[in-house]
Symmetry: C2
Subunit: 169 residues, 2 copies
């Protein structure tokens, strides 16, 4: 299925994209409000006994969102060094973490950069395949497109917000 | 913005809908696999000390998904009595819960019924407003459509799965 160019001018195709991007944007704002409500000390605590710390989840979410850039073919990661610490390694890896202040800055820059790119894509471009799916698989599963990445990373933020909220006493 | 009928025959409009519904379906399957991996006794535990129990979250997710039916104008709730116990009231309300076995059955029936309805809707119908938004607000915020409800309930499941996963020892 080849995304046609005929609906690039259709407001309805744009509305499908807008609906998804709005869900992304609202969720990023919700995460921002949460992180702003937490002190750096709050983030050092674990969400439950023996589980991930707030700061690890902040780093993890930043690294995962940063990886959206190359996945959608929009550019390079801003902070590639976060992957080893916060994706490939678990919380208690012994690796040195950036400070909460530094991670908050990375988090904001990653999401601001993404939104700038997102709003520039045309509807048909959203239906194109992303970098982690082969052409053969994409032909069989056309839902594995760029927009799907935005939906899955929106849900990923919710998944960890459900845990982070447990830091609230 | 009035969803046009001109793209009801366009495979691309259908692909936008398919992408979102696929994310819903994958998440329901993931939740099912999680609940099946948990014994009824497992579900009686709290996800973290003093927090919601697994059985409360199962009831809560069932009641919230059940409410999608009237919200999208697709029909009545299957289990309206769950709202008072699992949405209006917190976990330790003292209200009697259905058994885990009963809630598992409700959960499956609610989601099976929803998917049956979802796949029948045309793309343009997904862009129509849902029942909880006024016509005035919808005119200003056309992203508050039926498809948005599916996205937000998909993320709602992720939010609580992030907590439920803490039941795993």
């Amino acid at each position: 299925m080849n995304p046609g160019s005929d609906f690039q001018t259709s407001p309805d195709a744009g509305l499908f994209v807008h609906t998804t991007l709005k869900a992304w944007e609202i969720q990023v704002n919700r995460m921002n409000a949460f992180f702003e409500s937490m002190s750096d000390d709050d983030l050092m605590r674990e969400v439950a006994p023996g589980r991930n710390s707030g700061i690890y989840l902040l780093g993890h979410l930043t690294a995962v969102n940063d990886a959206i850039m190359p996945l959608l073919g929009l550019g390079q990661k801003l902070y590639p060094h976060l992957e080893k610490i916060f994706i490939s390694s678990p919380d208690k890896s012994g690796l040195e973490f950036p400070t909460a202040k530094e991670l908050r800055r990375c988090w904001n820059e990653v999401n601001e950069g993404l939104l700038e790119h997102f709003v520039r894509l045309e509807p048909a471009e959203w239906l194109a395949k992303h970098a982690a799916v082969s052409a053969d698989d994409f032909a069989k599963e056309p839902h594995r497109n760029r927009l799907n990445v935005v939906i899955s990373r929106t849900t990923h933020m919710h998944y960890h917000l459900g845990q982070l909220i447990l830091l609230r006493v």
